[in-house]
């Protein structure tokens, strides 16, 4: 790991001021991703600005019934929060399927959104990787790509966005609030992460000097009946091969409201707009679920080792919606 300078910011204004004057600086949240990447030499900031003392640790109900989550709320606190568990159970579930208890105790909401891909070649400085070293190539395309993306990929990069939490958030129409010396911006989470295109090193629309301060969830009554289903290689402590965040509202056997997002299969937290479009107004049956899943996965491109995810994702969507229909939401 490269030697770096460390400073701790007492409040938001000093944090954003510090980053605006230190071009090679990075914010340190829980450090569970940044520090790993520094150890591997993938990230090499000159300065690390510790933001864990910032007063951004609240989970508050908003007047409209939505919820505002501070960027430094720890993942485990968010998952255990009563408001979240009752109004957005899929979010609580998604977080609890991620990483391990120890990691969740450290990880923050802001850091989780910005965690970087687990592509094996991204982590190995001996490999060709356009994301790590623009223009060097992509070893994953002809190599081990079981964990890589089938949606939203390009010939430059097929890396999966690894977050579980972000998948639930994108299903919930979350909005990210960011701050810099230039002021405050609000960015819908669906637009926050970028597709790799020819510049896979640019992962979000966040500017280098912007701090995530909060994530806001609009009120969404149908989210009370929601689930997060994560399919993976072992029972715990593994990234998703496929995950499905879904909320479903059915009246008289017809789908009147639905939210679906996918994880483990796409280069960003993937809102399944196409599946939602097919389902809205359709009879709530296995056939509709399957048609919706097929529509969503129609543009999917399988690579040498991840072709199976196309079918797996469809089955996981159908199974999750079926469970919502027959058993209701997560407890």
């Amino acid at each position: 790991m490269k030697t770096f300078a460390y400073l701790s910011a007492p409040d938001v204004p000093s944090a954003v001021r510090a980053i605006s004057t230190e071009p090679g600086a990075k914010f340190l949240g829980g450090g569970t991703n940044l520090v790993d990447l520094m150890r591997e030499g993938v990230e090499a900031p000159d300065t690390v600005i510790d933001i864990t003392r910032l007063p951004l640790t609240g989970v508050e109900e908003l007047p409209d019934g939505g919820v505002r989550i501070g960027a430094l709320v720890r993942n485990s606190h968010l998952a255990a929060n009563q408001l979240i568990r009752s109004r957005y159970p899929l979010l609580s579930q998604a977080i609890l399927t991620g990483a391990s208890a120890q990691l969740r105790n450290m990880a923050t909401v802001g850091g989780n959104l910005l965690q970087r891909t687990r592509c094996l070649y991204f982590y190995d400085s001996a490999a060709a990787c356009n994301k790590r070293e623009p223009g060097s190539g992509c070893d994953a395309i002809g190599g081990f790509n079981r964990g890589n993306a089938i949606l939203g990929a390009s010939e430059s990069c097929i890396a999966t966005h690894p977050s579980d939490m972000a998948v639930a958030l994108v299903a919930l129409d979350a909005v990210v609030e960011v701050e810099s010396v230039r002021g405050t911006r609000r960015i819908p989470l669906v637009d926050f992460h970028r597709l790799p295109g020819t510049t896979p090193q640019v992962e979000t629309v966040l500017e280098a000097d912007e701090l995530i301060t909060a994530v806001e969830l609009p009120p969404l009554p149908l989210a009370a009946t929601s689930r997060y289903r994560k399919v993976r290689d072992r029972a715990s402590y593994a990234f998703a091969l496929v995950s499905v965040a879904a909320a479903l509202e059915v009246e008289g056997g017809v789908v009147t409201g639905v939210r679906i997002a996918l994880g483990g299969v796409a280069t960003k937290p993937w809102r399944a707009h196409e599946a939602e479009r097919v389902l809205l107004g359709a009879p709530a049956t296995d056939e509709s679920f399957r048609r919706a899943a097929e529509a969503e996965l129609a543009p999917a491109v399988g690579r040498s080792q991840n072709e199976f995810k196309i079918e797996l994702a469809q089955r996981a969507i159908v199974a999750t919606l079926r469970t919502l229909l027959t058993e209701g939401g997560a407890a």
Partner: protein, 767 residues
């Protein structure tokens, strides 16, 4: 030196003869490990210790044309950057000799940093020594090498068709045949002919390899995470051309090895080199990636199992062949087909092992080398044949249970597979298994049961032991064996306490140190039996000496007693109601202690001992087939939509001879089963076929089972002594992992109707 005080006995379930042998005694090293008092190789304090880090090659084969160390050397705190350009000369590893087991010590044939040749992707090409581990690692990341790349072959599957016969040796036969198995297969009314693959695995001991090395002139002290302090000492003496007597290797606590710490690998040698060159005590704790790059793993295999049977199930033909890999720079050829020569009474047998040599690091032994993955193929094939025959798979096994060893007709020293299956089937509820696959359902889960045989050969190695009894009544057992968490010291204390008739708490065992009498490496599940043989002999010798000493005094109640009539109990020797304690014999004689030794430490004594051992070993092998066996039962659940497999129940019924300590033994067997679950469902070292680099060298991406993957495991013992082994014990370190992957694959078939013949059984193979 290890000096662990024995805690008092807490549990008292008696299983076999003896006051302590057979009891589930708490492990003697438990307290120091749970309190953190135990010091591992990277924790031994030395003032002025420097820290080392490795730089790895990024090509699989080539010549280093230049190494730029400027940036590395400029990092604050760096003491030295050692490359092949400035490293002191070391002797290349010696050739492996078929008569000297110690010649197998070296992990590879590479003379690290004394060559510009790169032989695998990840080979160490430099070592950085610095004041802090952080500086060493930062600098290591800044070393830049350029290579003249040479063509390499790294793709196991692509090279497999070019496999050559695996060399056979007396210790590790590589095959055998009886009759004409191919013709019998062709003629058989019912047959299966199947191809299996298993991937490379890594050991992933919780403690990464670590070395602390301190030179004092030509004398050297090494604290090492090792399964064989003797091998480390011998190999370092050879490499650095110094007398072995001047080297002390200490490894009282080792955080798991599983075969990965049996050989001497680059990290050890380069730490010692760095200490030699810098004149400082040097420590190197490998990163997890460093372990993957510099310590071999388990070979991948391609296996064929073909079985031919009459319609009553009687096997007419059994063929098991394997291809495994070696590095061009060495490796351990796994006896993949070994168990298949002992398991089934087939009329005709053909066993054959082949190898390909690749430009990869030398592979090495890993828990139950051969049987761990060989039992997968043979046991799935048996299950498939049973399905073809419409027979219950246990019944098919019983029909073919041999009376003598199928290949050579040798006698089994003891064999209780029938009993193991009978007990297991009853307790597990095997009768409830639906013979038709894919029909048992519990909600979203498809449920299935599977079974497979566990098998691991038993043998002994040579161990020197001394036992001392002191005037305070204390007993000291000294033997340089290894403790990696198995419970070896506890078992030997139990054995000594019974043999001498003293309280368990009064026995202290010293181990894990070359300053002690020489012991073999911890491997082959042979350590407990090997040490026990010598320990029992030493205790007999000691009792005789004590009797002689007692008889010298006219006051001794033992006067006139004959050794054969004595019983050792209550801290001394008695016959009838008369006798006295060792303490009183010593006190009267005015002697502080008496020692008894087995084995000679002189060079000549060692040679003679080795020859005697080899001839006994080979004679024994010609007479008996000895093995620990078992029946592994499991239930799995497979998600009907996604193919996720979860193991939901486990029972292993084992015949391991006498169980010395059910607590430590059960840990070993459960640990083996957990490791087998990993091999079955998730473990795979991903070696990129383009450049031979392991791409998942971390515990995040190499999927070991986590707690949630492991159900409650029940272990049962038949607990009948083997007549040919010391105290009747057969060795338990490895048998637990064998049969596990086979049982799971068979249960997955029972649940889903799908056969997976390529490990690991990941969900994509079940969609």
């Amino acid at each position: 030196m290890t000096q662990v005080q024995n805690p008092p006995v807490t549990t008292t379930t008696t299983t076999a003869a003896g006051k302590y042998v057979g009891q589930a005694v708490d492990r003697v090293d438990g307290a120091v490990k749970t309190t953190g008092e135990a010091r591992f190789a990277a924790e031994v304090p030395y003032a002025n210790v420097a820290h080392a880090a490795l730089v790895h090659s990024t090509v699989s084969r080539g010549r280093i044309t230049a190494v730029d160390t400027t940036a590395a050397a400029a990092v604050e705190g760096v003491i030295s950057v050692i490359t092949h350009e400035n490293a002191v000369r070391m002797r290349p590893p010696s050739k492996v000799s078929p008569i000297d087991i110690d010649s197998m010590a070296s992990g590879t044939t590479v003379n690290y940093l004394n060559t510009d040749q790169v032989s695998w992707n990840g080979q160490p090409i430099a070592v950085v020594v610095a004041e802090t581990p952080h500086a060493a690692h930062e600098a290591a990341g800044l070393v830049r090498a350029t290579y003249e790349v040479q063509p390499s072959t790294v793709d196991f599957k692509a090279e497999a068709p070019n496999a050559e016969p695996q060399p056979s040796s007396l210790i590790l036969p590589s095959g055998g045949s009886k009759g004409d198995a191919e013709a019998a297969l062709a003629a058989a009314p019912v047959s299966v002919d199947l191809r299996f693959t298993t991937p490379m695995h890594h050991h992933n001991a919780i403690e990464p390899h670590a070395t602390t090395a301190v030179w004092d002139g030509d004398r050297l002290t090494v604290h090492e995470a090792s399964q064989s302090v003797v091998w480390v000492r011998k190999h370092l003496a050879h490499k650095f051309s110094v007398p072995a007597e001047g080297i002390r290797v200490i490894a009282p606590f080792v955080g798991g090895g599983f075969g990965g710490k049996a050989n001497v690998w680059a990290g050890t040698i380069l730490t010692v080199l760095a200490a030699r060159m810098t004149g400082r005590p040097v420590r190197m704790l490998l990163t997890r990636e460093g372990v993957y790059r510099t310590v071999g793993g388990r070979t991948p295999t391609i296996q064929r199992v073909a079985l031919g049977a009459r319609s009553d199930g009687h096997l007419t033909s059994l063929i098991h062949t394997s291809v495994s890999q070696l590095g061009r720079v060495g490796g351990m050829a796994e006896p993949v087909t070994s168990q298949s020569s002992h398991l089934y009474a087939a009329d005709n047998l053909l066993l054959k092992q082949e190898i390909v040599k690749l430009d990869q690091i030398a592979n090495t032994s890993m828990r139950a080398p051969g049987e761990a993955i060989g039992t997968y193929a043979i046991e799935v094939a048996i299950d498939e044949l049973a399905a073809e025959l419409g027979m219950d798979p246990i019944e098919l096994r019983m029909v073919n249970e041999p009376e003598t060893d199928p290949l050579h007709g040798r006698k089994f020293s003891h064999r209780m597979l029938r009993e193991a299956y009978a007990r297991g089937a009853e307790r597990f509820g095997w009768a409830n298994r639906s013979p038709e696959p894919g029909v048992t359902r519990d909600g979203r889960w498809l449920v299935g049961m599977g079974v497979a045989t566990a098998y691991h050969p038993s043998f002994q190695l040579r161990a020197n032991v001394t036992v001392r009894v002191s005037v305070d009544g204390g007993v000291l057992v000294r033997c340089g064996f290894q403790e990696m968490g198995m419970g070896g010291a506890t078992a030997q204390a139990q054995i000594a306490a019974d043999a001498l008739g003293v309280p368990f708490e009064s026995v202290r065992v010293e181990y894990g140190d070359t300053a002690l009498p020489l012991a073999p490496m911890a491997g082959g599940s042979a350590q407990t039996a090997s040490v026990a043989t010598s320990l029992l002999a030493a205790c007999e010798k000691l009792k005789k000496s004590m009797l002689e000493l007692a008889k010298k005094s006219s006051e001794s109640p033992l006067r006139g007693a004959r050794a054969a009539d004595l019983s050792a109990r209550d801290g001394g020797l008695f016959h009838g109601g008369r006798g006295e304690t060792y303490a009183s014999i010593l006190a009267r004689a005015g002697i502080p202690s008496v020692d008894a030794a087995i084995g000679s430490e002189t060079r000549l004594g060692d040679l003679v001992g080795n020859m005697r051992f080899m001839s006994k070993f080979l004679m024994d092998r010609r007479r008996w087939v000895k093995a620990a066996c078992g029946a592994q039962f499991c239930e799995v659940r497979v998600d009907a939509d996604t193919g996720e497999v979860r193991v939901s129940r486990w029972l292993g019924v084992f015949d391991v001879g006498t169980v010395i300590n059910a607590k430590t033994a059960t840990s070993q067997l459960k640990g083996g089963i957990v490791m087998g679950i990993g091999a079955a469902l998730s473990e795979e070292s991903l070696v990129d076929p383009r450049h031979g680099r392991v791409m998942n060298p971390s515990l995040a991406e190499y999927h070991l089972p986590v707690h949630a993957d492991v159900p409650r495991i029940d272990v049962e013992y038949l607990d009948v002594p083997d007549p040919t082994m010391p105290l009747g014990l057969l060795g338990i370190g490895e048998v637990g992992i064998t049969g596990v992957a086979g049982a799971i694959a068979n249960a997955v078939h029972n649940a889903t109707g799908k056969r997976v013949r390529d490990l690991p059984i990941t969900l994509d193979k079940l969609l």
